[in-house]
Amino acid sequence: MAIDIDTARKAAHLARIRVEEGDLAALAAELSGILGFMEELASVDVTGVEPMTAVTPMPLQTRDDAVTDGGDAARVLANAPLARDGFFAVPKVVE
Protein backbone atom coordinates (compact mmCIF):
# COMPACT_ATOMS: atom_id res chain seq x y z
CA MET A 1 0.00 0.00 0.00
CA ALA A 2 1.37 3.39 -0.98
CA ILE A 3 1.75 5.96 1.78
CA ASP A 4 0.76 9.51 0.88
CA ILE A 5 2.18 12.69 2.36
CA ASP A 6 -0.59 13.01 4.96
CA THR A 7 -0.01 9.47 6.20
CA ALA A 8 3.74 10.07 6.37
CA ARG A 9 3.10 13.23 8.41
CA LYS A 10 0.86 11.23 10.75
CA ALA A 11 3.44 8.43 11.19
CA ALA A 12 6.13 11.00 11.98
CA HIS A 13 3.91 12.65 14.56
CA LEU A 14 2.96 9.31 16.15
CA ALA A 15 6.69 8.61 16.42
CA ARG A 16 7.28 12.12 17.85
CA ILE A 17 9.96 12.76 15.25
CA ARG A 18 10.02 16.17 13.55
CA VAL A 19 10.05 15.90 9.75
CA GLU A 20 10.13 19.12 7.77
CA GLU A 21 7.25 19.60 5.31
CA GLY A 22 9.67 19.50 2.35
CA ASP A 23 11.00 16.08 3.38
CA LEU A 24 7.62 14.37 3.65
CA ALA A 25 7.36 13.33 0.00
CA ALA A 26 10.69 11.49 0.14
CA LEU A 27 9.72 9.90 3.47
CA ALA A 28 6.38 8.75 2.03
CA ALA A 29 8.15 7.10 -0.91
CA GLU A 30 10.64 5.40 1.41
CA LEU A 31 7.98 4.10 3.78
CA SER A 32 5.91 2.88 0.83
CA GLY A 33 8.88 0.88 -0.41
CA ILE A 34 9.34 -0.83 2.94
CA LEU A 35 5.63 -1.54 3.33
CA GLY A 36 5.57 -2.93 -0.21
CA PHE A 37 8.16 -5.46 0.94
CA MET A 38 5.81 -6.48 3.76
CA GLU A 39 2.86 -7.03 1.42
CA GLU A 40 4.01 -10.60 0.89
CA LEU A 41 2.55 -11.39 4.31
CA ALA A 42 -0.94 -10.87 2.87
CA SER A 43 -0.53 -14.03 0.79
CA VAL A 44 -0.06 -16.33 3.82
CA ASP A 45 -3.07 -18.31 4.95
CA VAL A 46 -3.27 -17.57 8.68
CA THR A 47 -6.78 -18.92 9.23
CA GLY A 48 -7.02 -20.37 12.72
CA VAL A 49 -3.42 -19.49 13.60
CA GLU A 50 -2.85 -17.89 17.00
CA PRO A 51 -0.47 -14.93 17.07
CA MET A 52 2.84 -15.69 18.78
CA THR A 53 2.87 -13.64 21.95
CA ALA A 54 5.53 -15.47 23.98
CA VAL A 55 8.83 -16.64 22.54
CA THR A 56 9.52 -19.29 25.14
CA PRO A 57 6.42 -21.00 26.43
CA MET A 58 6.66 -20.64 30.19
CA PRO A 59 4.44 -19.33 32.95
CA LEU A 60 4.98 -15.68 33.73
CA GLN A 61 7.16 -15.43 36.77
CA THR A 62 5.94 -13.44 39.72
CA ARG A 63 7.74 -12.07 42.71
CA ASP A 64 6.69 -10.88 46.13
CA ASP A 65 4.82 -7.59 45.97
CA ALA A 66 7.45 -5.77 47.95
CA VAL A 67 9.67 -2.75 47.48
CA THR A 68 13.14 -3.95 46.53
CA ASP A 69 14.70 -0.75 45.32
CA GLY A 70 14.38 3.00 45.64
CA GLY A 71 15.48 6.07 47.52
CA ASP A 72 17.90 6.78 44.70
CA ALA A 73 16.74 10.12 43.35
CA ALA A 74 20.22 11.53 42.95
CA ARG A 75 21.39 8.60 40.81
CA VAL A 76 18.16 8.62 38.81
CA LEU A 77 18.59 12.32 38.03
CA ALA A 78 22.33 12.15 37.43
CA ASN A 79 21.93 11.79 33.65
CA ALA A 80 19.10 14.28 33.18
CA PRO A 81 19.83 17.12 30.73
CA LEU A 82 18.00 19.42 33.13
CA ALA A 83 16.99 18.70 36.74
CA ARG A 84 15.90 21.04 39.51
CA ASP A 85 15.06 20.49 43.19
CA GLY A 86 15.04 16.71 42.81
CA PHE A 87 12.85 16.71 39.69
CA PHE A 88 13.30 16.39 35.93
CA ALA A 89 12.72 19.82 34.40
CA VAL A 90 10.71 20.28 31.18
CA PRO A 91 9.05 23.22 29.39
CA LYS A 92 5.78 24.34 30.91
CA VAL A 93 3.08 21.74 30.15
CA VAL A 94 0.00 23.27 31.83
CA GLU A 95 -0.85 26.91 31.16
Binding site: A11, R18, I34, M38, L41, V55, N79, P91
Partner: protein, 494 residues
Protein backbone atom coordinates in the same frame (compact mmCIF):
# COMPACT_ATOMS: atom_id res chain seq x y z
CA UNK B 1 52.71 -15.37 19.52
CA UNK B 2 51.65 -12.15 21.15
CA UNK B 3 49.44 -12.49 24.17
CA UNK B 4 46.47 -10.65 22.65
CA UNK B 5 46.30 -13.29 19.89
CA UNK B 6 45.57 -16.08 22.39
CA UNK B 7 42.23 -17.85 22.57
CA UNK B 8 40.34 -17.65 25.84
CA UNK B 9 41.00 -21.36 26.49
CA UNK B 10 44.74 -21.03 25.90
CA UNK B 11 45.02 -17.88 28.02
CA UNK B 12 43.03 -19.50 30.82
CA UNK B 13 45.43 -22.42 30.94
CA UNK B 14 48.51 -20.16 30.90
CA UNK B 15 47.02 -17.92 33.61
CA UNK B 16 46.14 -20.87 35.84
CA UNK B 17 49.63 -22.31 35.34
CA UNK B 18 50.97 -18.86 36.37
CA UNK B 19 52.99 -18.65 33.12
CA UNK B 20 51.46 -15.28 32.29
CA UNK B 21 49.68 -12.66 34.38
CA UNK B 22 46.32 -11.02 33.84
CA UNK B 23 48.10 -7.66 34.03
CA UNK B 24 50.41 -8.39 31.08
CA UNK B 25 47.57 -9.91 29.09
CA UNK B 26 45.46 -6.77 29.63
CA UNK B 27 48.39 -4.54 28.65
CA UNK B 28 48.92 -6.50 25.42
CA UNK B 29 45.28 -5.94 24.48
CA UNK B 30 45.26 -2.27 25.51
CA UNK B 31 48.34 -1.70 23.31
CA UNK B 32 46.73 -3.54 20.41
CA UNK B 33 43.63 -1.38 20.80
CA UNK B 34 45.64 1.81 20.98
CA UNK B 35 47.37 0.86 17.72
CA UNK B 36 44.16 -0.04 15.91
CA UNK B 37 42.46 3.33 15.58
CA UNK B 38 42.06 2.69 11.85
CA UNK B 39 39.58 -0.10 12.61
CA UNK B 40 37.35 2.23 14.68
CA UNK B 41 36.26 -0.87 16.59
CA UNK B 42 36.74 0.55 20.09
CA UNK B 43 34.67 3.61 20.97
CA UNK B 44 35.33 4.04 24.70
CA UNK B 45 38.57 2.59 26.11
CA UNK B 46 38.55 1.74 29.83
CA UNK B 47 42.24 1.25 30.71
CA UNK B 48 41.84 2.15 34.39
CA UNK B 49 39.01 -0.34 34.85
CA UNK B 50 40.99 -2.97 32.91
CA UNK B 51 44.09 -2.53 35.07
CA UNK B 52 42.12 -2.65 38.32
CA UNK B 53 40.22 -5.77 37.24
CA UNK B 54 43.43 -7.42 35.99
CA UNK B 55 45.13 -6.78 39.35
CA UNK B 56 42.12 -8.29 41.15
CA UNK B 57 42.22 -11.27 38.77
CA UNK B 58 45.92 -11.84 39.46
CA UNK B 59 45.16 -11.85 43.20
CA UNK B 60 42.43 -14.45 42.67
CA UNK B 61 44.71 -16.55 40.48
CA UNK B 62 47.42 -16.39 43.15
CA UNK B 63 44.86 -17.51 45.74
CA UNK B 64 43.84 -20.44 43.54
CA UNK B 65 40.34 -19.04 43.09
CA UNK B 66 40.22 -18.76 39.31
CA UNK B 67 36.79 -19.10 37.67
CA UNK B 68 36.46 -19.65 33.94
CA UNK B 69 37.17 -16.13 32.74
CA UNK B 70 39.54 -15.02 35.48
CA UNK B 71 41.94 -12.51 33.95
CA UNK B 72 40.50 -12.76 30.41
CA UNK B 73 40.33 -9.34 28.69
CA UNK B 74 37.18 -8.79 26.67
CA UNK B 75 35.39 -6.01 24.80
CA UNK B 76 31.78 -5.02 25.44
CA UNK B 77 29.34 -3.96 22.75
CA UNK B 78 28.22 -0.38 23.39
CA UNK B 79 24.67 -1.71 23.97
CA UNK B 80 25.48 -3.10 27.45
CA UNK B 81 25.29 -0.78 30.45
CA UNK B 82 28.57 -0.75 32.34
CA UNK B 83 28.34 1.32 35.49
CA UNK B 84 29.99 4.70 35.11
CA UNK B 85 31.24 3.95 31.58
CA UNK B 86 29.83 5.79 28.54
CA UNK B 87 27.04 3.68 26.99
CA UNK B 88 25.57 5.19 23.84
CA UNK B 89 24.22 2.27 21.79
CA UNK B 90 26.01 3.91 18.87
CA UNK B 91 23.55 6.81 19.01
CA UNK B 92 23.81 10.56 19.30
CA UNK B 93 20.69 10.60 21.47
CA UNK B 94 22.57 8.89 24.31
CA UNK B 95 25.48 11.32 24.17
CA UNK B 96 26.98 11.73 27.62
CA UNK B 97 24.98 8.90 29.20
CA UNK B 98 26.82 7.06 31.95
CA UNK B 99 24.64 4.33 33.40
CA UNK B 100 24.42 4.33 37.19
CA UNK B 101 24.01 0.54 37.11
CA UNK B 102 25.51 -2.58 35.57
CA UNK B 103 23.83 -4.95 33.09
CA UNK B 104 23.33 -8.49 34.38
CA UNK B 105 25.54 -9.96 31.64
CA UNK B 106 28.50 -7.69 32.36
CA UNK B 107 28.03 -8.13 36.13
CA UNK B 108 28.26 -11.90 35.60
CA UNK B 109 31.33 -11.54 33.41
CA UNK B 110 33.13 -9.37 35.98
CA UNK B 111 32.28 -11.74 38.80
CA UNK B 112 33.70 -14.58 36.66
CA UNK B 113 36.94 -12.56 36.61
CA UNK B 114 36.77 -11.05 33.11
CA UNK B 115 38.61 -7.80 32.43
CA UNK B 116 36.83 -4.89 30.67
CA UNK B 117 38.95 -3.27 27.94
CA UNK B 118 36.30 -0.92 26.62
CA UNK B 119 33.12 -0.42 24.67
CA UNK B 120 32.86 -1.54 21.07
CA UNK B 121 31.33 0.06 18.00
CA UNK B 122 27.94 -0.99 16.65
CA UNK B 123 25.10 0.12 14.40
CA UNK B 124 22.88 2.70 16.08
CA UNK B 125 20.55 0.88 18.49
CA UNK B 126 21.72 -2.35 16.79
CA UNK B 127 19.78 -1.44 13.63
CA UNK B 128 21.98 -2.24 10.67
CA UNK B 129 24.01 -4.90 8.93
CA UNK B 130 27.20 -2.98 8.17
CA UNK B 131 28.01 -0.80 11.22
CA UNK B 132 27.48 2.22 8.98
CA UNK B 133 24.57 3.63 11.01
CA UNK B 134 26.83 4.23 14.04
CA UNK B 135 27.23 7.78 15.32
CA UNK B 136 30.94 6.99 15.77
CA UNK B 137 31.33 6.18 12.07
CA UNK B 138 31.67 2.63 10.76
CA UNK B 139 33.90 0.01 12.31
CA UNK B 140 36.24 -1.40 9.65
CA UNK B 141 37.02 -5.06 9.10
CA UNK B 142 40.63 -6.16 9.50
CA UNK B 143 40.03 -8.20 6.33
CA UNK B 144 40.65 -6.87 2.82
CA UNK B 145 40.08 -8.41 -0.58
CA UNK B 146 43.28 -9.81 -2.06
CA UNK B 147 45.22 -7.06 -3.84
CA UNK B 148 42.75 -4.35 -2.81
CA UNK B 149 42.84 -1.75 -0.04
CA UNK B 150 39.15 -0.82 -0.12
CA UNK B 151 37.78 -0.79 3.44
CA UNK B 152 35.24 -3.55 4.09
CA UNK B 153 32.44 -3.78 6.60
CA UNK B 154 32.88 -6.16 9.54
CA UNK B 155 29.08 -6.58 9.35
CA UNK B 156 26.55 -5.41 11.86
CA UNK B 157 25.18 -4.63 14.16
CA UNK B 158 27.95 -6.09 16.38
CA UNK B 159 30.60 -4.86 13.91
CA UNK B 160 33.01 -3.43 16.47
CA UNK B 161 32.92 -6.70 18.42
CA UNK B 162 33.65 -8.72 15.27
CA UNK B 163 36.44 -6.43 14.12
CA UNK B 164 38.06 -6.34 17.58
CA UNK B 165 38.03 -10.13 18.02
CA UNK B 166 39.19 -10.83 14.45
CA UNK B 167 42.04 -8.30 14.81
CA UNK B 168 43.14 -9.75 18.18
CA UNK B 169 42.37 -6.55 20.09
CA UNK B 170 40.67 -8.65 22.74
CA UNK B 171 40.21 -12.36 23.45
CA UNK B 172 36.45 -12.29 23.10
CA UNK B 173 33.57 -9.83 23.00
CA UNK B 174 29.91 -9.60 23.82
CA UNK B 175 27.42 -9.14 21.02
CA UNK B 176 23.66 -9.00 20.73
CA UNK B 177 21.54 -10.58 18.02
CA UNK B 178 18.05 -9.41 17.07
CA UNK B 179 18.01 -10.57 13.44
CA UNK B 180 21.55 -11.83 12.89
CA UNK B 181 23.69 -9.15 14.55
CA UNK B 182 26.09 -11.66 16.13
CA UNK B 183 26.16 -14.29 13.38
CA UNK B 184 26.49 -12.09 10.28
CA UNK B 185 29.49 -10.06 11.58
CA UNK B 186 31.08 -13.26 12.91
CA UNK B 187 30.77 -14.81 9.44
CA UNK B 188 32.13 -11.68 7.74
CA UNK B 189 35.25 -11.63 9.92
CA UNK B 190 36.07 -15.33 10.27
CA UNK B 191 35.19 -15.72 13.95
CA UNK B 192 32.64 -17.73 15.96
CA UNK B 193 29.38 -16.11 17.05
CA UNK B 194 26.62 -17.71 19.12
CA UNK B 195 23.06 -16.47 19.53
CA UNK B 196 21.67 -18.41 22.52
CA UNK B 197 18.09 -19.62 23.00
CA UNK B 198 15.77 -16.73 23.82
CA UNK B 199 15.71 -16.50 27.62
CA UNK B 200 19.11 -18.15 28.20
CA UNK B 201 20.86 -14.81 28.80
CA UNK B 202 19.34 -11.94 30.76
CA UNK B 203 18.43 -8.81 28.81
CA UNK B 204 18.47 -6.60 31.91
CA UNK B 205 20.68 -3.57 31.43
CA UNK B 206 21.06 -4.10 27.68
CA UNK B 207 19.65 -1.19 25.68
CA UNK B 208 16.49 -2.69 24.17
CA UNK B 209 15.83 -2.86 20.42
CA UNK B 210 13.12 -5.52 19.91
CA UNK B 211 12.49 -7.24 23.22
CA UNK B 212 10.99 -10.48 21.89
CA UNK B 213 13.95 -11.00 19.51
CA UNK B 214 17.01 -9.57 21.34
CA UNK B 215 19.48 -12.01 22.85
CA UNK B 216 23.07 -11.45 23.93
CA UNK B 217 25.84 -13.93 23.16
CA UNK B 218 29.59 -14.45 22.82
CA UNK B 219 31.81 -13.59 19.83
CA UNK B 220 35.08 -15.48 20.01
CA UNK B 221 38.05 -16.98 18.15
CA UNK B 222 36.96 -20.58 18.65
CA UNK B 223 33.95 -22.75 19.42
CA UNK B 224 35.48 -23.71 22.78
CA UNK B 225 35.82 -20.05 23.71
CA UNK B 226 32.16 -19.48 22.87
CA UNK B 227 31.23 -22.34 25.21
CA UNK B 228 33.35 -20.89 28.01
CA UNK B 229 32.03 -17.37 27.60
CA UNK B 230 28.38 -18.42 27.27
CA UNK B 231 28.71 -20.33 30.54
CA UNK B 232 29.66 -17.09 32.29
CA UNK B 233 26.98 -14.95 30.58
CA UNK B 234 23.98 -17.28 30.95
CA UNK B 235 21.63 -17.87 33.84
CA UNK B 236 18.32 -16.93 35.37
CA UNK B 237 17.79 -13.32 36.34
CA UNK B 238 14.71 -12.26 38.33
CA UNK B 239 15.08 -8.79 36.84
CA UNK B 240 14.24 -10.07 33.32
CA UNK B 241 10.81 -11.72 33.33
CA UNK B 242 11.64 -13.54 30.07
CA UNK B 243 14.84 -15.02 31.48
CA UNK B 244 14.39 -18.77 31.91
CA UNK B 245 14.73 -20.37 35.31
CA UNK B 246 16.88 -23.25 34.10
CA UNK B 247 20.17 -24.68 35.18
CA UNK B 248 23.10 -23.60 33.05
CA UNK B 249 24.88 -26.75 31.86
CA UNK B 250 28.65 -27.01 31.45
CA UNK B 251 28.79 -26.12 27.76
CA UNK B 252 32.50 -26.82 27.47
CA UNK B 253 32.00 -30.35 28.79
CA UNK B 254 29.67 -30.99 25.83
CA UNK B 255 32.59 -30.49 23.41
CA UNK B 256 33.49 -34.10 22.78
CA UNK B 257 33.82 -33.66 19.04
CA UNK B 258 31.81 -36.84 18.63
CA UNK B 259 28.71 -36.26 16.52
CA UNK B 260 28.21 -39.81 15.28
CA UNK B 261 24.54 -40.53 14.80
CA UNK B 262 23.46 -36.88 14.91
CA UNK B 263 20.87 -35.91 12.30
CA UNK B 264 21.55 -32.69 10.42
CA UNK B 265 18.82 -31.08 8.35
CA UNK B 266 19.44 -29.15 5.13
CA UNK B 267 16.45 -26.85 4.53
CA UNK B 268 15.61 -26.68 0.84
CA UNK B 269 13.99 -23.24 1.15
CA UNK B 270 17.36 -21.68 2.01
CA UNK B 271 18.55 -22.27 -1.54
CA UNK B 272 17.59 -18.71 -2.51
CA UNK B 273 17.59 -17.24 -6.00
CA UNK B 274 20.87 -15.70 -7.01
CA UNK B 275 22.88 -17.44 -4.28
CA UNK B 276 26.56 -17.13 -5.24
CA UNK B 277 28.16 -20.39 -6.32
CA UNK B 278 30.81 -20.06 -3.62
CA UNK B 279 28.18 -19.93 -0.88
CA UNK B 280 26.41 -22.95 -2.31
CA UNK B 281 29.71 -24.87 -2.57
CA UNK B 282 30.59 -23.99 1.04
CA UNK B 283 27.20 -25.23 2.20
CA UNK B 284 27.69 -28.53 0.36
CA UNK B 285 31.18 -28.87 1.85
CA UNK B 286 29.78 -28.22 5.33
CA UNK B 287 27.28 -31.05 4.87
CA UNK B 288 30.12 -33.33 3.73
CA UNK B 289 32.22 -32.42 6.77
CA UNK B 290 29.37 -33.41 9.09
CA UNK B 291 28.69 -36.61 7.15
CA UNK B 292 32.38 -37.50 7.32
CA UNK B 293 32.24 -36.95 11.09
CA UNK B 294 29.50 -39.56 11.33
CA UNK B 295 26.33 -37.47 11.17
CA UNK B 296 23.37 -38.33 9.01
CA UNK B 297 22.47 -35.49 6.65
CA UNK B 298 18.82 -35.23 5.62
CA UNK B 299 16.76 -32.84 3.51
CA UNK B 300 14.18 -30.89 5.49
CA UNK B 301 11.56 -28.29 4.68
CA UNK B 302 10.83 -25.00 6.44
CA UNK B 303 7.98 -23.88 4.18
CA UNK B 304 7.36 -20.42 5.65
CA UNK B 305 10.97 -19.24 5.33
CA UNK B 306 10.21 -16.70 2.59
CA UNK B 307 7.86 -14.83 4.92
CA UNK B 308 10.41 -14.47 7.71
CA UNK B 309 12.02 -11.23 6.49
CA UNK B 310 8.77 -9.34 5.95
CA UNK B 311 7.42 -10.60 9.31
CA UNK B 312 10.66 -9.56 11.01
CA UNK B 313 10.57 -6.10 9.46
CA UNK B 314 7.07 -5.59 10.90
CA UNK B 315 7.71 -7.03 14.37
CA UNK B 316 11.18 -5.57 15.03
CA UNK B 317 10.28 -1.95 14.14
CA UNK B 318 6.99 -2.25 16.07
CA UNK B 319 8.83 -3.28 19.22
CA UNK B 320 11.54 -0.71 18.57
CA UNK B 321 9.05 2.13 18.23
CA UNK B 322 7.74 1.22 21.66
CA UNK B 323 11.15 0.64 23.30
CA UNK B 324 12.71 3.80 21.87
CA UNK B 325 9.82 5.99 23.04
CA UNK B 326 11.85 6.46 26.23
CA UNK B 327 14.40 8.70 24.45
CA UNK B 328 12.61 11.97 24.90
CA UNK B 329 15.28 14.39 26.02
CA UNK B 330 13.96 14.44 29.56
CA UNK B 331 15.63 11.73 31.60
CA UNK B 332 18.98 11.09 29.96
CA UNK B 333 21.05 11.80 26.91
CA UNK B 334 20.76 14.64 24.50
CA UNK B 335 18.08 17.35 24.58
CA UNK B 336 17.37 19.73 21.68
CA UNK B 337 17.52 23.49 22.11
CA UNK B 338 14.06 25.02 21.98
CA UNK B 339 13.02 28.33 20.46
CA UNK B 340 10.89 30.73 22.47
CA UNK B 341 7.28 29.58 22.63
CA UNK B 342 8.03 25.93 21.92
CA UNK B 343 6.56 23.36 24.29
CA UNK B 344 6.94 19.79 25.44
CA UNK B 345 5.88 18.16 22.14
CA UNK B 346 8.44 20.30 20.30
CA UNK B 347 11.00 19.15 22.82
CA UNK B 348 10.23 15.49 22.05
CA UNK B 349 10.03 15.92 18.28
CA UNK B 350 13.16 18.05 17.90
CA UNK B 351 15.21 15.94 20.32
CA UNK B 352 14.32 12.73 18.49
CA UNK B 353 14.83 14.23 15.01
CA UNK B 354 18.32 15.41 16.00
CA UNK B 355 19.29 12.48 18.17
CA UNK B 356 18.33 9.51 15.97
CA UNK B 357 20.01 8.73 12.66
CA UNK B 358 18.02 8.09 9.44
CA UNK B 359 17.72 4.28 9.75
CA UNK B 360 16.52 4.46 13.35
CA UNK B 361 14.03 7.23 12.51
CA UNK B 362 12.76 5.16 9.59
CA UNK B 363 12.22 2.07 11.72
CA UNK B 364 10.49 3.96 14.53
CA UNK B 365 8.09 5.53 12.03
CA UNK B 366 7.38 2.19 10.32
CA UNK B 367 6.78 0.69 13.77
CA UNK B 368 4.42 3.49 14.78
CA UNK B 369 2.58 3.03 11.49
CA UNK B 370 2.11 -0.76 11.69
CA UNK B 371 0.87 -0.42 15.27
CA UNK B 372 -1.53 2.41 14.51
CA UNK B 373 -5.32 2.09 14.50
CA UNK B 374 -6.57 0.62 11.25
CA UNK B 375 -3.29 -1.06 10.32
CA UNK B 376 -2.54 -3.12 13.43
CA UNK B 377 -4.46 -6.19 12.24
CA UNK B 378 -3.19 -6.07 8.66
CA UNK B 379 0.48 -5.78 9.62
CA UNK B 380 1.37 -6.45 13.23
CA UNK B 381 -1.21 -9.09 14.15
CA UNK B 382 -0.69 -10.88 10.83
CA UNK B 383 3.08 -10.84 11.29
CA UNK B 384 2.68 -12.41 14.73
CA UNK B 385 0.57 -15.18 13.22
CA UNK B 386 3.18 -15.77 10.53
CA UNK B 387 5.73 -15.91 13.33
CA UNK B 388 3.74 -18.78 14.86
CA UNK B 389 3.94 -20.61 11.52
CA UNK B 390 7.70 -20.05 11.25
CA UNK B 391 8.26 -21.46 14.71
CA UNK B 392 5.97 -24.39 13.90
CA UNK B 393 8.14 -25.17 10.83
CA UNK B 394 11.15 -25.64 13.10
CA UNK B 395 9.18 -27.62 15.70
CA UNK B 396 8.03 -30.00 12.99
CA UNK B 397 11.58 -30.57 11.76
CA UNK B 398 12.96 -31.10 15.27
CA UNK B 399 10.05 -33.42 16.15
CA UNK B 400 11.10 -35.48 13.13
CA UNK B 401 14.37 -36.31 14.89
CA UNK B 402 16.63 -33.62 13.45
CA UNK B 403 19.27 -32.38 15.94
CA UNK B 404 20.55 -29.34 14.08
CA UNK B 405 19.99 -27.50 10.82
CA UNK B 406 22.87 -26.42 8.58
CA UNK B 407 22.64 -23.28 6.41
CA UNK B 408 24.98 -20.61 5.07
CA UNK B 409 25.38 -17.76 7.59
CA UNK B 410 25.15 -14.96 5.02
CA UNK B 411 24.17 -14.62 1.35
CA UNK B 412 27.62 -13.18 0.46
CA UNK B 413 31.05 -12.35 1.85
CA UNK B 414 31.63 -8.91 3.42
CA UNK B 415 30.91 -5.93 1.18
CA UNK B 416 32.72 -2.61 1.02
CA UNK B 417 31.98 0.38 3.23
CA UNK B 418 29.66 2.64 1.25
CA UNK B 419 28.91 -0.02 -1.38
CA UNK B 420 25.30 -0.29 -0.27
CA UNK B 421 24.82 3.48 0.11
CA UNK B 422 22.85 3.75 -3.11
CA UNK B 423 20.66 0.74 -2.36
CA UNK B 424 17.21 1.11 -0.87
CA UNK B 425 16.80 0.01 2.77
CA UNK B 426 15.20 -3.29 1.75
CA UNK B 427 18.40 -4.34 -0.09
CA UNK B 428 20.30 -4.05 3.19
CA UNK B 429 17.60 -6.05 5.00
CA UNK B 430 18.25 -9.01 2.66
CA UNK B 431 21.54 -9.61 4.48
CA UNK B 432 19.48 -11.15 7.27
CA UNK B 433 17.74 -13.72 5.04
CA UNK B 434 19.37 -16.78 6.68
CA UNK B 435 19.47 -15.46 10.23
CA UNK B 436 16.12 -13.82 11.11
CA UNK B 437 14.10 -17.04 11.20
CA UNK B 438 16.11 -18.08 14.26
CA UNK B 439 15.21 -14.93 16.22
CA UNK B 440 11.55 -15.24 15.25
CA UNK B 441 11.53 -18.84 16.55
CA UNK B 442 13.66 -18.06 19.64
CA UNK B 443 16.22 -20.77 18.79
CA UNK B 444 19.96 -20.98 19.42
CA UNK B 445 22.26 -20.68 16.39
CA UNK B 446 25.98 -20.60 15.80
CA UNK B 447 28.10 -19.07 13.03
CA UNK B 448 31.37 -20.93 12.40
CA UNK B 449 34.05 -19.84 9.92
CA UNK B 450 34.37 -22.50 7.24
CA UNK B 451 36.34 -21.14 4.31
CA UNK B 452 37.52 -18.22 2.19
CA UNK B 453 35.98 -16.92 -1.00
CA UNK B 454 37.86 -16.28 -4.25
CA UNK B 455 39.01 -12.86 -3.04
CA UNK B 456 40.32 -14.23 0.26
CA UNK B 457 37.42 -13.17 2.49
CA UNK B 458 35.93 -15.40 5.22
CA UNK B 459 32.67 -17.27 4.74
CA UNK B 460 30.68 -18.82 7.56
CA UNK B 461 28.21 -21.62 8.05
CA UNK B 462 25.27 -21.45 10.42
CA UNK B 463 24.00 -24.25 12.64
CA UNK B 464 20.55 -23.91 14.17
CA UNK B 465 19.77 -26.00 17.26
CA UNK B 466 16.85 -27.10 19.40
CA UNK B 467 15.83 -24.78 22.22
CA UNK B 468 18.18 -24.99 25.26
CA UNK B 469 20.60 -27.33 23.46
CA UNK B 470 23.48 -24.92 22.98
CA UNK B 471 25.85 -27.65 24.23
CA UNK B 472 25.00 -30.05 21.42
CA UNK B 473 24.98 -27.19 18.95
CA UNK B 474 28.49 -26.10 19.97
CA UNK B 475 29.66 -29.70 19.71
CA UNK B 476 28.38 -29.91 16.13
CA UNK B 477 30.07 -26.56 15.50
CA UNK B 478 33.30 -28.04 16.83
CA UNK B 479 33.08 -30.80 14.24
CA UNK B 480 32.87 -28.17 11.47
CA UNK B 481 35.65 -26.11 13.04
CA UNK B 482 37.94 -29.16 13.14
CA UNK B 483 37.07 -30.35 9.63
CA UNK B 484 37.32 -26.89 8.06
CA UNK B 485 40.57 -26.11 9.86
CA UNK B 486 39.90 -22.44 9.13
CA UNK B 487 42.69 -20.76 11.11
CA UNK B 488 43.05 -17.86 8.65
CA UNK B 489 43.82 -14.40 10.03
CA UNK B 490 43.66 -10.99 8.36
CA UNK B 491 47.12 -9.74 7.41
CA UNK B 492 47.86 -6.70 9.53
CA UNK B 493 47.61 -3.35 7.67
CA UNK B 494 46.26 -1.08 10.41
Amino acid sequence: MTLNALTIAAARDLLRARKITAAELAEACLSAMAAAGALNAVVHLTPDLARAQAAAADARLAAGDAPALCGIPIGIKDLFCVEGVATQAGSRILEGFRPPYESTVTARLWSAGAVCLGKLNMDEFAMGSSNETSVYGPAISPWRRAGDTAPLTPGGSSGGSASAVAADLCLGATGTDTGGSIRQPAAFTGIVGLKPTYGRVSRWGIVAFASSLDQAGPMTKSVRDAAIMLGAMAGHDPRDSTSADRTVPDFEAALTGDIRGARIGIPREYRVDGMPGEIEALWTRGAEMLRDAGAEVVDVSLPHTRYALPAYYVIAPAEASSNLARYDGVRYGRRAELSPGEGIVDLYEKTRAEGFGPEVRRRIMIGAYVLSAGFYDAYYLRAQKVRTLIRRDFETVFAGGVDAILTPATPSAAFGIGEMAGADPVQMYLNDVFTVTVNLAGLPALAVPAGLDGTGLPLGLQLIGRPWEEGGLLNTGLAIERAAGFGAKAARWW
